[in-house]
């Protein structure tokens, strides 16, 4: 396996460079230790100081995010963030990226991504109640992409389905740029009784450190380091073992941990999952957070493979493992509890006084380093930033589409994989287990009830990478705004967000510019909507052969719907209902689905976006929902008004008859901050009084056709046939 080098060999052969430690960093490690690090210690620092664990390139940017608020019980820094929702209950959520593992082995990569995010949620003491995903793939004209999509979906589905956690929503887009670097983000939402809140801290000298769950193998060693360096075809062959998920083991582990937390919290000091950089990161972080030292005896770590060395034991990313700090005296009780779930619990060490992180193996001390140096003293870099050439050199003009036959264009739009019905994906997920799912695709955000209360949660994942590619700053604002728009259109009040920042290499100034601008835009939007960032994840180096993906900040937002009467869905409800549009439409088509469809790519400066206006529109919609005036609401996104109207019709069995004073191309414009709403005719007076001139009547619900008249052309299609082809388009392209 791995050859162990002496400290001087490591120095002389510069082994640390291969592990992603720079010359400067190596010097810092020497200073922190007052000597040369040995083989194991070098490995510990390489993992803990990687981008994945230390955020050394993104920390200065993440600092901008608002993270506090009266409703926030826990911001970033723990397994997941926590938001108070009243009555002693809280909602817990976080998202995680698993892009690289998914590219290598899509089934297991996606499955273990889901498994990992679930552990983050139950480690906080919460019961997971919903999963969501955000997926970006290459174009479907390629056999490998079809295989990736199929296996990714299978992996996500099989893990969540087996755990009994419903996958209630998500998003999927397709674009050549993701061909070699698919994006796989998963989000988990949990429900917490506030008294059960846990922390990942290991305090109290003599308290026991318990390893629970699956045995350690050589899976994913260097995963954290890999995830933080660029892909090149050369590395492909060196990559070490893939992690295999075992959802059954995780289900047992989850039930055991929740029983421990909910019924025997007196046994427990702290709990954390073993995620990226496995045992080293969980144990060192638990010690650092509590301000204690720790001693672990690695001989006691349950091992699946033979002759593992300390480096491997510490860095393995074997799945379905947790680390507990157990109060002295309760060891037998904890072991018995886990035995009941046929899950292993083994004491591997204890909390010590001071600041030393010490490991012994076969009776020999193999590491002795200051905890704080490992956890808190990773260097932070301010990378140079430069506006991407494609932005600075773009022609300052709006795309002028040619629409020869409006109906044909409309039907072609509905078949675009990004727009087409996603049944071929979400029907492979159990969206209903736990019997709390009120709506998945019938609303802009998924709706999950909180049993025993009147409250429901609305949740959504959004990113529109094309907009970010054209303008990362406004694109960042839009990502948060779109998420909020989905929550608001469903009747919810946005509470907070989680995010996954999927970007290219921070060492490339153009990619770093994108990261910097996107986070700036997101920050401003989060502040305005009062949706602090309570958790998240950074995935950089998403590039192959120097080609980065589009900047892809996934925003996962959760909102609260206090009154069941406010739950609002997108489907047309009744023949004769009046259809209104809220918000301005102009012929701005850069970055739009139409541009993508016609040119095969997007270009030009992004359309104007006004965050204040967005907020006003959302407030207006909330007022209308709270006044119980609306029969349906739907936000307009990809494909603009034409697609939005079709979606409302498809969700019901009712057509529409719409007349607008827009041009045919404007039907596909993607101006933000717009909604289509419907009302019963007898509410027209009070509705119009409420909206003043901020909504325009455009037509009526009814019939078996979708009719949309513009200034220059009309769409007039049979609802049933059009729906069939929209519904079948994705399944057909996946085949």
């Amino acid at each position: 396996m791995m050859k162990k080098l002496t400290p001087t060999e490591i120095r002389d052969q510069k082994l640390y460079l291969q592990w992603g430690i720079s010359e400067d960093e190596y010097q810092k490690i020497n200073d922190a230790l007052g000597r040369l690090p040995n083989f194991t210690e070098t490995g510990l620092f390489a993992a803990m100081w990687s981008e994945h664990c230390a955020y050394k390139n993104s920390k200065p940017l993440l600092k901008q995010f608002p993270t506090t608020g009266s409703q926030i019980l826990q911001g970033p820094g723990e397994g997941a963030g926590i938001v108070d929702i009243g009555n002693n209950q809280a909602v817990v959520f976080k998202a995680e990226s698993h892009n690289h593992p998914t590219a290598v082995e899509p089934y297991q990569g996606a499955a273990t991504g889901v498994g990992g995010i679930i552990r983050d949620i139950f480690s906080m003491g919460a019961r997971p109640i919903a999963l969501m995903d955000s997926l970006h793939f290459g174009e479907l004209n390629d056999a490998h992409t079809k295989y990736l999509v199929d296996q990714t979906i299978a992996g996500i589905g099989d893990y969540g389905n087996c755990m009994g956690i419903p996958t209630v929503g998500g998003e999927t887009t397709f674009d050549t740029i993701y061909q070699n670097n698919p994006v796989m983000n998963a989000m988990c939402v949990g429900l917490l009784d506030i008294n059960d809140q846990q922390k990942g801290a290991a305090a109290g000298v003599g308290n026991a450190i318990y390893y629970v769950g699956a045995k350690t193998g050589r899976d994913g060693i260097q995963g954290a380091i890999f995830a933080s360096t660029e892909f090149s075809d050369e590395q492909e062959t060196q990559r070490s073992a893939v992690q295999v998920g075992d959802p059954f083991a995780e289900k047992q582990l989850m039930e055991a941990c929740l029983e421990l937390i909910h019924n025997h919290s007196e046994y427990l000091v702290g709990i954390q999952d073993m995620g990226a950089a496995g045992l080293i990161s969980s144990s060192a972080e638990m010690a650092a957070k509590a301000g204690y030292g720790m001693h672990l005896n690695l001989d006691l770590v349950p091992q699946r493979e033979e002759e593992m060395i300390p480096y491997e034991l510490m860095l393995s990313e074997s799945q379905e493992r947790m680390l507990l700090c157990v109060k002295q005296g309760f060891e037998p009780a904890v072991e018995a509890l886990f035995a009941k779930y046929e899950s292993e619990a083994v004491k591997i060490g204890e909390v010590t006084a001071g600041d030393r992180y010490q490991l012994t193996f076969k009776g020999v001390q193999v590491a002795d380093v200051p905890v704080h140096a490992l956890v808190d003293e990773a260097p932070v870099y301010h990378q140079p930033s430069q506006k991407p050439q494609h932005i600075s050199e773009t022609k300052k003009q709006q795309y002028q589409p040619k629409i020869e036959n409006l109906t044909k264009t409309f039907q072609a739009m509905l078949q675009q994989p990004t727009i087409a019905h996603k049944g071929a994906i979400f029907e492979r997920y159990d969206s209903q287990v736990q019997t709390n799912t009120i709506s998945t695709t019938q609303s802009d955000a998924a709706v999950v009830r909180i049993r025993g209360t009147q409250k429901t949660l609305a949740m959504t994942t959004d990113a529109n990478p094309r907009y970010l590619y054209l303008d990362p700053y406004y694109g960042g604002q839009i990502a948060v705004s779109e998420a909020a728009r989905n929550i608001v259109a469903t009747g919810g009040i946005p509470l907070a967000i989680t995010d996954c920042l999927n970007f290219g290499s921070p060492e490339d100034p153009e990619s770093f510019y994108e990261l910097e601008q996107a986070t700036k835009g997101m920050t401003e939007a989060c502040k305005l909507f009062d949706t602090p960032v309570i958790s998240g994840n950074v995935s950089l180096y998403n590039e192959s052969n120097q080609q980065p993906i589009y900047p892809t900040p996934m925003v996962g937002m959760v909102g609260l719907i206090e009154n069941p009467a406010w739950i609002t869905t997108i489907d047309f409800k009744k023949s004769g209902d009046l259809i209104y549009i809220l918000g301005e439409t102009t012929a701005e088509l850069n970055g739009s689905e139409l541009q993508k469809m016609q040119l095969g790519h997007v270009e030009g400066p992004l359309f104007n976006f006004d965050l204040r206006y967005e907020q006003e529109q959302q407030e207006l919609l909330t007022q209308l929902i709270h006044a119980e005036l609306l029969n349906s609401a739907h936000d307009l996104a990809e494909g603009g008004l034409a697609v939005g109207l079709a979606e409302c019709a498809f969700a019901s069995e009712l057509g529409c008859d719409v007349k607008t004073n827009l041009t045919a191309t404007e039907l596909f414009a993607e101006n933000q901050a717009r909604f289509i709403v419907t009302i019963a005719p007898d509410k027209q007076k009070i509705f119009e009084a409420q909206v003043a001139n901020r909504a325009t009547l455009i037509g009526q619900v009814g019939g078996k056709r979708i009719k949309i008249a513009t200034m220059d052309d009309v769409i007039d299609v049979d609802l049933k046939n059009t729906k069939e082809s929209w519904k079948g388009a994705l399944a057909w392209q996946l085949n």
């Binding site: 082995e105 193998g217 893939v242």
Partner: protein, 84 residues
């Protein structure tokens, strides 16, 4: 016509949750003398003789589709069978 039998299993180092579950179940059924269980996939493929290098063809199929060489290994046997 050829008949290729291909056996795909996880690489040694990779967790095999199915194998573990089955081992536990066999122990529970009192087969305590079962020491290890590995689960894999088994393919039987009938291939027409087009004068190709059959070994190479089966190896390529396995690399491309039947196994994921990032985590699985395979072995195969090929036999000639009578046309019917």
């Amino acid at each position: 016509m050829y008949n290729a039998k291909i056996y795909v299993t996880y690489k040694e180092s990779i967790l095999d949750p199915q194998g573990e579950a089955i081992k536990t179940a066999l122990h529970r059924l009192n087969y305590e003398n079962v020491k290890a269980v590995t689960v894999g996939k088994y393919f039987e493929i009938k291939i027409e003789d087009h004068g190709q290098n059959i070994e190479e063809q089966v190896r390529k199929m396995s690399d491309e589709l039947l196994a994921n060489i990032n985590m699985e290994t395979y072995r195969f046997e090929i036999s000639r069978i009578e046309e019917d």
